[in-house]
Structures are given as structure tokens and as C-alpha cells.
Chain length 316, copies 6
């Protein structure tokens, strides 16, 4: 019993670290959470299958609520619990083995998905293309670097991405990879769109209607691309899909601290600082995911086909 307590304390710690942004990047966060669950399972005292499943459920729930816009993590830990529930084990050893296997499989699948996604995306980069991206997405960057390694000769325009200037991180990485890169302020995107061949951004979440939640400014760039008939793609794992949106929930938009925008504003001034916005499916040519290049309008069916367990209702 004590052991379990210790275990859940560690879970609470991990959840707290995620909440305080000490862990960053959707994949990283998801893996941290699943590993914590596995460790929790490995270490805790074993009474019987039923109480163990109940403990895992509680631990998952603690992690689930650590951060608002993290469907990737929530899907990963839901998968872990779902696999555990459907596996055959009755003893402590059986459980440990199964848990380890699920974790390994999940890590492997993450890697395979990532490899497939950046491969599919890289084929869309043709010689002479100019790519526009916004913010910093490791999937976008890995895909661009792969295209470069495969011999494509292209250039990139990246927006600085206020308030936290993640575009500078993107720019630095691309310059280091030898890719010709231009940085602009966010509001200059429309002035450069005529010379762009393709816009590609990442995703923080995808809704059942096919809309994409991503860094503030994304929907504006999508609109600009739409006006100029420039293809706009999102590159992301299908596991960014948020099943709660199927059931009528809105994807909530995190409001961040105002000092990110202006450290010493005049008294009385309100500063609004939403972290994300929503890009409607009608402005998205395709989602480049582990299933290939698909229409955002059919995202729900694609998830049903590939990850049916996403729709199993595990309470919270």
C-alpha cells in the first residue's frame, strides 16, 4: 500500500513537471507520461488484477489533466491502459512483462510513424520550391532536413512567431542544416506569399470536424495561403486527434501570461495572449500523417480505421 502511494506520488510529480512546461514537445511529453505509467506498474505492490487496473486508471487520470491541449499524450496513455486491460495477465510477473512490451511497442510505433510522416512529406518538396512555415515543429524540421539530404534544393521562409520567437529556433536549425532560410515578422506573411509554393506547419490537436489547432497565427497564414491559392499542409501524427471533440467538446485554447507579450505595459492596459488558434479544414489541402497524405474532411474515418481504441470510452 505504501509502495502504491510512493508510485502515485511519482505520477503526480511527472504531471506537475508537464504542467510547468519542464517537459516540452508533444512526443516527448507523451513518452514521459507513458514511461511514468510503466514505471508505476513495474514498481507497485500487486494485489490482484482488478485493483491494479483501477490504480492504473487513477494514475492515467492524474496525467491526463496535467495540460489542456495535449491529445497526443492523452491518446498515448489511453492506449497503454487499453492494451493492459485487454492483455492476458494475472500475476505480478505477467503484468510487468506485458507492461514493458506495450511500452516498447508504443515507442517503436512512434518511431515508425515519424519516419513514415517525414518521408511522405519530403516527397512534396520539389526542386526550386519555396516553403513557408510558422513557429517551430520538429516534424516539419525533420521533414525539411530529410528532403535536403535526399538532394532537393529549396528555400524556406519562416515567421518569427511572436510572442516567444520560436521561428528563430526553426531558422537556426534550418541554417545549420544548410537550408537557405529567410526570417520575417509574422504580419509580413501576406507580402511574401506570391513567391511561396507550399505552406507546411505542425499541429497541436486535430478535431473530429477536421480542423487543426496550432500556434497562434497559423489560421491567419492558412487564410493568406487560401486567398492566394497556395497549398497549405499540416504534418502531424493522427494521434493528435482529440476524441473529446467527437463528443461535442471544444478544444480549449490556452491563455498564456501577458508578460510574454509586453513586460512593462502601462497600467490599465489589457493584454490578451492566446497560445493557439483554429484552422478550418476548408483551408487545409491535406494532413500528412502516418496514413499518408489525406483530406482533413475524412480524419475521423482514418482514425477509426487505424486507431479504433481511441474511441473506447475510458472515463476521463
Amino acid at each position: 500500500m505504501n509502495d502504491v502511494k510512493l508510485g502515485i506520488d511519482k505520477i503526480v510529480d511527472v504531471a506537475e513537471r508537464i504542467r510547468r512546461l519542464e517537459v516540452q514537445g508533444a512526443t516527448n511529453i507523451a513518452l514521459t507520461a507513458v514511461k511514468a505509467l510503466n514505471e508505476y506498474v513495474q514498481e507497485s505492490v500487486f494485489k490482484d488484477r482488478a485493483s491494479k487496473l483501477s490504480e492504473v486508471s487513477e494514475a492515467r487520470s492524474v496525467l491526463s489533466t496535467s495540460r489542456e491541449t495535449e491529445p497526443y499524450m492523452r491518446n498515448a496513455i489511453k492506449y497503454f491502459e487499453w492494451k493492459l486491460r485487454n492483455a492476458n495477465w494475472e500475476t505480478r510477473e505477467g503484468l510487468r512483462e506485458v507492461s514493458k512490451k506495450i511500452l516498447d511497442e508504443l515507442i517503436l510505433n512512434f518511431e515508425k510513424s515519424h519516419t513514415a510522416i517525414i518521408s511522405f512529406g519530403s516527397k512534396r518538396i520539389l526542386d526550386g520550391d519555396c516553403i513557408l512555415t510558422h513557429c517551430h515543429s520538429s516534424t516539419v524540421n525533420d521533414m525539411l532536413k530529410l528532403a535536403k539530404r535526399n538532394g532537393s534544393s529549396f528555400s524556406v521562409i519562416v515567421t518569427e512567431t511572436r510572442p516567444l520567437y520560436q521561428g528563430r529556433i526553426t531558422a537556426r536549425e534550418l541554417i545549420e542544416a544548410g537550408i537557405e532560410t529567410t526570417l520575417i515578422v509574422d504580419s509580413a506573411a501576406r507580402s511574401f506569399i506570391k513567391s511561396v509554393d507550399l505552406v507546411i506547419v505542425g499541429a497541436d490537436a486535430i478535431t473530429s470536424e477536421g480542423n487543426v489547432i496550432n500556434k497562434i497565427g497559423t489560421s491567419m497564414i492558412a487564410l493568406i495561403a487560401h486567398e492566394a491559392r497556395i497549398p497549405f499542409y499540416t504534418i502531424s501524427s493522427l494521434l493528435k486527434f482529440d476524441p473529446q471533440t467527437v463528443y461535442g467538446e471544444f478544444e480549449s485554447i490556452e491563455e498564456r501570461n501577458s508578460f510574454e507579450v509586453w513586460a512593462d505595459p502601462p497600467e490599465g492596459l489589457c493584454i490578451a495572449n492566446p497560445a493557439f488558434d483554429i484552422t478550418k479544414r476548408d483551408y487545409i489541402h491535406g494532413i500528412i500523417c502516418e496514413e499518408g497524405v489525406i483530406s482533413p474532411h475524412s480524419i475521423l474515418e482514418a482514425v477509426y480505421r487505424r486507431y479504433p481504441w481511441v474511441f473506447t470510452t475510458v472515463d476521463n
Copy 2:
């Protein structure tokens, strides 16, 4: 002869100060230039009418080329020269008197226009409205303050306006005037547009086709407003009209120093920093000017009607 030299040196000095941005604000720049011309006329040695007109033409030309996107100044000094040419004077005293009168008249007209413009604009601000503006325009701010003084109760959203954060200046002024104000990053404009009733911005130049040149980001906000069917107005004197655009010239867009965007970028990174962009007439509901609220599509005819001298061809 010496005196004239002295005079033209002062003109060159003033042109230089304008070039180095030591004088700011379209009205301020225009007045500085016309006052310099008047002083030049007042002080210089008088030979005869013909040589005097030739000197003024030269001085005007020096001022004209001091800065790219300043049609307001160019129209003002063109007006000064045109009035001088068409006035009756043959002696030094006659000239001095005439020159002084033109200057006084021009200042008076500027004031009258400004009063009319902010009055027309202020009537468009209704109780409960939310106004979005971009960058810093003294005409926009004066109009909002007038509406406030006239008893309207409204709020304002202002974009920070990267790279130079002029939106902060706007925000500070409005807060001091007791107007409820919210500041956002430029790329958040689309997230807030649903709650906006009216977008109003200033103008740096207006073309013969009815398009408006203004601070980078303006055309993006116009597009966002257009998508959401929110009225978008430009508030500006008709003298921001650039007659060169009638004759096929493009309005040139100033490219500013990259350190405004990022002071210490990684080596090899290109930073593009255009100061303005072009908003197409189809996205502009009206231009609020000294003639009232007019359609941008008929700007050329309105200028022809009110300021026909703008189209007199004075070489550069």
C-alpha cells in the same frame, strides 16, 4: 548668390533630417518641408521672377527625393510651387508676401482637413463598438479621442505591430485618454475579429487604382476583416494620394534594416523587413477623408475634383 547657396544648404539639411527619420509623421514632415521652402524664399537674394521660380523648383526637387513613401510631403511642396507660379508678383516684397500667404493658407487647410476627417470618422463609432487598429496613426488616435470626448463608450484592440512596436504607443495614448484598450500580437488578429465591429487604420499612400499603402500587416488585417465581413476603413487626407501611380509607376515599398527584426541572427540567415504593404481597394469599405466617407474606387475622381493641381506635371 551667397545667400542662395546658404538657402539651398538649409534645404539640403532639412532633406537630410527627413531622410534620417529625425522628422516623423506625415503632417509634420510635410509642414517642415513647406516651411523650409518658405524660409528659403524669404531669405534668398532676389534677381527676377524667372530665376526665382527656377530656384524654388530646384529646392522642391531636393526635398522631394528625401524619402520614398511620402506623397503627402510631395503634394504639399508641389502645391507651394504651383501657387507661387500662378500668383502675381514681380518684386522681392511681393514674393515674400505671397509665399507667407501660401504657407499660412496651407497650414490652415491642413488643420481644417484634420478637423473634418476626425469629425467624420468619430461619427462611425457607436456605443458598445469594438474597434481594431494596427500600428500608430495620429489621425486614428485623434478620431478615437474625439469620439470619446463626444460621449461614445467603446473599446479598442490594438496590434503590437512588429518590428517596432508602434502599437504600444497607440495603446499608451488610448489608455491615457481613458479608452478601454487591449493589446495583442499581430498574428492574433484573426482570433479576435469576431468581436470587432470596425477596423480603422491610417495610410501612408493611396494609389490611382484606389489601393492603400500602410504599415506592414495592414493588408493581412484587411483580409481577415474581409473574410469575417467586418467593415475596414482607412482614415487619411486625400493628399496621401500619389499622382505618380496614375502614370504607371508603382508605389515603392521601403526595405528597412534587418536588426529591427533580430539584433543577433545566426550567420547566413536572410531577414526581410519591408516597412509597408498594399491593401487592395476590394477590401476597403471606405476612405474617411476631408471629402467625407468615400469609396476607394473613386479616389482618382475625388482628387481631380478637390485638388486638380495635383495632376499638373511639375518635373520631379
Copy 3:
């Protein structure tokens, strides 16, 4: 002095009749108001030119404020006063003669304009066309009847126009004129638009930006026509132009009694009943007026050219 009182009482009476909708139709209202002014001038005691002009100004002001959306009347009585001010008279007889002459001229001009407008419009009706109209406009109906008399073979679809069913009046008139007519509910307009060749409606007011105020539902039909790329025309005298809109005022939209919509609604239900809506210039192919078929974007310049006195500022 007594006489004048009597006169102004009659003016107040006429204004009251206009307010209570006892006089209907824009032309009828305008003529009633101008005739009242003329009668007032004919009958009243004469002191001197200055005091007479002051009396006329007062009388005009009383009539002006009788009803919100009647620019046609306001322009007519402004014209009357403006002509009187600019005419040469010093005696009672001179005044009477001048006043009578202005009235006759104005009536003649109204007739000439009407004849020209319906002639220009009728040429747009081709054999086999299907015309959609909304509400009841005597100009639209006169134009359709002229086209019929000129031998055109066409059909008309008319919306019933809730809440007051003015479409039924239109339908009855057209049927009596032998024109093939179909009546539909307002919300069925989109279902029939594919078979329509031309939409033509009247106007209650035109703004300086080129927008048209007309019966509630007009802007919706304009949108439907725009979506289906069916030409949409407004047929109206240029004098429906409201000069106040130039100076920043909005055209106010009359809110009418809720029982027009539902006589015995359940308690607590709010019923909103705006009489007009605004159709944006971008949805209007042309305004068919006494100047011919013109673009709504240049309405301000057309009025300046034909009726410059509209812009003389006579205080309300």
C-alpha cells in the same frame, strides 16, 4: 405674423401626416413636402428677403425631421430652399413667382427623371428573361410595364415580402398588366435563383460609399444573386442619395411595430422588426438612374456632377 403662424401650422400638419405614413411612396412624399413649402411661401406675410429666407429654413427643418429614411424628400426641399436663396427677388410678387417656378421645374424634372429611368431599365429586359423583384417599387413596376408595352416577353418572380406582404401588391399589378408572374415566400428566393436572369429592386436611400438601403430582405436576395452570379440592379433616382452619409452619419434603420410580425405572441417573446437592410455595393451590378446605368462605386461623383447643390450645407 399671424399669417406666418398659420403657415407654419400647416407645415407642421403636413410633417405630421408624413410621420404617420398617411402619405406614402418616396416621390409622393417629396412632392407633398415641396408643395407645402411653396404654399407656405405664397401665403405668408412678407417683411423682407432675409426674414423670409429664415422662415423657409425653419419650415424646411420641420419637414426634414418628419421621417427617418426619406433622403428623397430631404433633397427635394433642400433644392427648393437652395434655389430660393440663389434667385433674384426682393418683393412679395417676385418671391411668389420664383417659388412657383421652382416648384414647376422640380415637378417637371421628377417626371423627366422617371421617364428616363424606366426607359433605361426597360432596355435591360430581354425576350425570355425571368426577373426577380422584392417588395413593391412603383419604379420597378413602371419599368416592367414599359418593357411589356415595348413588346418584351418575360416573366417575373416576386417575393411576398413579410411582414406587410407588399409583394402581393406587386404581383396584382403585374398580373393586371398581363405579365406572367409567380409569387413565392421570401425564403424560397435561393431555390429559384438558377432560373432568374436579372434581379431588380428599388431603393429607399443610397449612401456615399455606394451601398443601398431598401426593404428588409433585399440584402439577402443580393447575396443569393451574388452567389449564383445573377446580375442585381437597383433602379432609383440619384436623389435617393443621402448626403449625410458623406459626413460620417449612418443611414438609420427604422424599427417598426412588432404586431406587424405576430399579433398575439406569447408573453416574454421579443419580436424584432427592422424595416430596411443595407446592400453592399459589391453585390450591386449597377444603379439604373436618370444618369443611365452606373456603377454604385462612383455614385458620389455622379451626384456631384449632376446635383452639386446636394452638398451645400444647409443646417439640418
Copy 4:
């Protein structure tokens, strides 16, 4: 044999009552038809399985053709027959038991679906929202009442819905449920759309392309919402899907009696009175159904996944 005759007479009676609109509301009609089928099965003489199935098929066919735009009923009775055909029974008792079970299951599923649908929809109603609806849909109303019971504070605008004023029924119900409600004429929808946050309507039928057939005026409101970028949702069971549209058939649009529009029109006037119109999928943000909130573009796949029997071809 006599019994069967009696049975089929009852079926014909029920079909007739449905045809004469004595039974109203899609769910009600569907249940009436399925119950009639069950009763027919329970009561009739039993020869053998084959002839019984043939009789049921005939009875279903009679009900199927009772009304044009009722896919919900047609899907329900198709389900009944399909289940019967695939169930294991050879005797009268076996049949009776099976039939009763199918009926109970179907009723239960209807209830479950309804509960899920209004729950999903109610989560889309946020505090302070203004919802626009058209006509009368019990699903829309039940959903709004649930949102109200769950503590949401919102207001509703409802169009009166000519010619039969079903909007008044909606208004009355909502007022009774304590929801702040405003009624407007249909053609005023565009004037109020700026203050609307969400449009939600029901559906009479859904096509394989993802288009929605609903009360006349719906497509116009969808267009208005689209123009103003206001989300437009349809709330409906997936069983409103009409499988005939997959096979190339158009959904037929009922033309109703002209006196609904005008009881005493002038002779010679044509009155057109279509009951429904078609809203294109591009104007629909989502269909809120028992599967959750889904894109209309993937409706066909969602039906295939949930109700594959819909695509079994039972003649007529």
C-alpha cells in the same frame, strides 16, 4: 389468408394516415410505421418463413411509398425487415418473439441516439452565446433545453418560417423553457447574423454527397452564415441519410398547396410553394449525430461504419 388481408388493410390505413400528415415528426412517423409492421407480423396467419418474409416485404413497400421525403421511416422499416430476414425463426411463436425483440431494440436505439445527440449538441452552447435556428425541430429544441438545464446562459433567435409559421411553435416552447428568445421574419436573418455565434437546424434528409435537405429557407440561412463565417450545424440522426442518393437518385422536393402562401390570390397568379431546399455540404461545419460531431463530407463512410444494413438492397 383473411387475416393477412385484414393485416395489409391496416398497413394501408397507416400509410394513408402518414400520407395525409395525420402523423407528424420524423421519429413519430418511423415508430408508427415499424409498430404497424410488428402488429402485422404478430397478427397474421403463419404459413411458412418464405411466404411470411414475402408478406412483410409487401407491407414495407406500402409504407415506404406513403411519403416522399421520409428516409428516417424508410431506414427504420428496412432495418426491421433486414433483422427479420437474418434472424433464426421457423414457427409463428419464434417469429412473434423475434419481431417484438426487434421492435423493442429499435425503440431503445432511437432513445439512446436521441440522448447522445442532444448531449453532444448541448456542449456546443457556451455561456453568452446567441443561437439562430429556423423552423421547428424537436431535436434542436430538446438540445437547447438540455443546455439550459445544464446551466448554460444563452439566447436564441428564431425565424418565423413562412408559410406555416413553425418558428412560432419553436419560440413558444423556448420561452416556456425560460430561454431568452427573439422572433424575426425569415428575410431579416442577414441583419442579425453578426450577433449570432452558432446556427443550428434539424434535417429531413441527408444525401450521399453530404448535402442536407431541410425546411425551405435553410440553405439561404446557411449561405448567410457562410458569408459571415458563423458556424452552421445540422443536428440529426444518421438515419436521415437517404441511401437512394448513393445510387444516383435525387432527393425529391415536395411541392405543397399554394393556399398555404396566399389564400385568395388574384386569378392567373402562379404561386410556387416548395417545402424544402438543399444545403450544400460546403456550408455545413458539422453534423451532430449519434456518432458525435462529424464532417458532412464523410457522412457516407460514417453510415457504412455504423449502419451497414442501410446499403443492403431490398427492392423499393
Copy 5:
């Protein structure tokens, strides 16, 4: 009297040659017609001013009706007659002198306009631009050649322009002028539009609403450019304006012989071969004319300002 007959016979001959397309090119046709009028005036017997004006009117009328879509010619001969009517002459010698002077002036004005137009247009061609044009317009070609002579380095895409392949004439001329040129089939325009910076075409007629009549296919290319946000300009003299369109007339579209499309079609096949189509003002960024670069929405006012005599009503 005999002389006059002879004269009118020559006029009829010229009209006939124009009708049979023996004279081609709008400027050429206009000059031929005006020269014929002058010759007619020079040669004919002189009785008195009144009868002479009547003869000229008749001659003009004969020429006017020689071809449907030739407003340029009709405006030119209207100008000739209008100048003659307003000039001071009473004798044969006076008339001859005046007539010659009008002709010379008109030719000079044509040349000046042409020079101005191609100069304004050429400034819009920037280094590196790709220009798309359709059909063959000598103004477009002269403008492109001027830009080339002025040192611009650009390329041109030209559509072949079925059925008469005028695009081949354009291509040959441009290649001979040393301009890099690509020819495509008409229906490939959309495939190449992304690489185009500017579309420029000529005009056969301009309407009072600001629409442009030009070679079949023009409106399609304008639509393609509009979709891709590529600027679309018409380059043409303002005298292509057709004043009849002000008075409600439609610009008629010539239907040409079917063998131009297919010389030996199967029996029973209908071949439609309209020569022109109409491009709406909303798809036209500007009209490059002798007044400069202007918005098509204000064309009527620009013509009123520069060529007020166009609106004098001379019968037919």
C-alpha cells in the same frame, strides 16, 4: 447635288469595306471612317451650313451602323461631327479648313494617346516578370516592345486564341522583337497562372458599369487570374467606351461563322461561335488608358471629365 451623291456613295463604299472586315484594327477603322467623312466634306457641293450639317449627320449615320462592336469608330466620327457643329464657319472654304483641322487634331490626339498609354503600361513591366496575354492587340504588343526597348527583361505567355489563332500573330511579333515567348492552348491558361505576374489584354468596348468586352476567352482568363490573385489589366483608349451602354443598351456580341471552328462538322451538329465575351469590372485591377491607370469602377466619370462630348446625344 450630284457631287453629294457621289460623296455619299463613297461613304457607303467605306462602310461596306468596314462591314466586310477589309479594314481591321480599331484605330485603323476609326481613322478610315473619319478620313472618309473629311473627304466627303471637302468634296461635296456647298449650299449652306444647315444643309451641310444635315448631310454630315447622314454620312456619319451610314458609317456608324457598319459594324456592331466598334465604339472607337463611333466615338471618333461623333467627335468629328460635334466639332464641326460647334465650329465657326459659313462658307465652303471655312468648312474645308475647319474639317481639315479637326481631322489633323484627331490624328494627333490618337497618336498622343497611344504614346501615353504604352508608356504608362510599360512601367508596370518589371525585370523578371512573366506577362500573360490573350489574342492579338497592337496596343499590348507596342507596350511590351517599348518595355523591352527600355531595358526590361521579361517573358510572355500567349494563348493561341481559337478559332482564328490570333495568338500566333502575337507570338511571332514578340519573338521578332526579341522577347522570350511561350505559346499555349487556351485551356492551359490555368495551369500556367502561378508563374504569371501580370495579365494584360486589350479591349473592344468598355461599358458604363466598367465591364470590358474583348475576344472570347478573355473573361475566362480574368476569372483564372482572379482566383489566383494575379493582377489583370486592360490596356485601351478611353474612347472604347460605348455611350449607348449608359442608356441601358447591352453591348451586342457578334456571332461569327461556324466554319471558323470546324470546316466539315457532322450533319445536325450545332456550332456556336461568339466573337467576344464580357469581363466584369470586379476581375479588372485597372484600365491603362490615356488618363493613366484607373479603376474600371470610375470609367464613366473619367470619360465625362476627359471627353464630355461623348455624351452629347446625336441621333443614332
Copy 6:
């Protein structure tokens, strides 16, 4: 071994005939290729299952690369190989039998699909309709002829389809079938769209995003139909779906010989002659295929459901 060589030579021959366009029409090409594979299997020496499968794979690969835009053929031969791999055979006789059976089944399925497709499509042709089509598609023509045989009375507009005038073939076939037909030049499509009720074209390939590759000019006509809100359908087997597009590949667009456009162009002129263009899913109302009328947005899911083997990865 020799036999095999002979066999592969025949395969190479067939591939060559396909490359040189000696075999035409997607179905014809697919059948030719599959029959060649079957013959190859029937005739060749049999060693063992493994080496046989390897030989078939090689033969399929030779055929696969014979022509760029032929997914129909590639899918057919992929199916053949996939069935062979999954069938039970170990001996030569077993193989021969299985191969023959697969071929027969495939031919039967092709026929069934074709019958279903033209039946679904024909139901969309209503009495009085005007259909626009582009190029020559045997599926479109068979569907129109079926509609005609079923008693529909409609007319067709067909574009000539430069450069190879396939529209003339279509026109001739339709005239022979007794269908009222009008031929126009490609660029006249926009002038006739108002009178069109439905556009229907074939397809050369369909991408995973739902876009359609078809004869050059198709996307332009789709845009024209979209602008005028005229329904645009593609009629095609689902097997035109190209699975490579799922994995990020672009559908390549064949560039054909320039003499097809102009046999004797001036030296130095570039002639571009792309055979196909891409029509975006947003302009396509539906794809009429063997699954019925479906939304292009869900094409990927429909193929997954009906032809899952399409996604089995057989190298090249």
C-alpha cells in the same frame, strides 16, 4: 528458361505498344496489360511457386512503367499479382487455372462496375437539362446514351478540346445517338455556363486528397462551373485512384509534343503542351463511381473499404 524469356519479350512488346499510344482508353489499356500477364503465366515454364511469383512481379513491373498517368492499369495488374500471391496453387496446372479465373473475374468486375457507374450517372440527367462535357470519355458518352435510351430529353454542349480535338469525336458520337449537341471552342465555356445544368467529365487519375487529374482544360471548366454554382461531377471507376499519391508522390503530368499545338512555329518560340491538369476537390460536387455518388473528400476511405488490396505495398 527460354520460354520465360520469350514470355518477357512479349510483355516488353505490350508495354512498348502501350507507351507508343497504340492501345488507347484506360479500360482497354488495363485489360491488354492483364491479359498479357495471364498469357505470360499460362505459357511460361514452371519451376516452383516462389520463382514464378518473382517472374510475375518482374513482368508487372515492366508493364507498370510503360506510361505515366495510368493508375487504372497499374491497379489492375497489381490486383492480378495480389490475387495470385494469395491463391492456393503449387503446380503448373493449378497456377494456370487460378490465373484464368482471376482474369475472368477481373473482366466481369470491370463490366459490372461500368454498368453500375453509367446507371448511377444517367439518373442525374433530368428532362430539359443541358449537360456540358469536355474532351472524350467513353464512360460519359455511354452514360449519356443510356439516359437517352431511358427516355430523357436533354442537350449537350461539348468543347472542341484543343490541341487534339477529342471534343469532335464526342460530338460525332452523341449526334449519331440522336442527342442534341452543340460544339464550342474551349475558351467559350464561360459564355455558355449560365444555360448549363450539370458538368460531367471523366478522370485519368484521382489522388488521395480527392483531386482529379483529367484532360488539360478540365480544371478551368470546373472553376467556371464553381463560379456560377453549376454542379460539376466526375464519372469514373474508383480504380483510377492512384495509391502512390497517398505516400506523398505527386501525380505526374505528361508533356506532349509541341507540333500537336502548332506544326510550323517561328524559330525561338517555346510551345508548352501539358496533357492534363488537376481539378481540386473543392470544385467537384461528386464522383460517380461503382460505389455510387460520393464526395471526393472521402475517396481514400471508399477505396480502403472496397479495394483494400490497393494499399498492399508491392514494390513498384
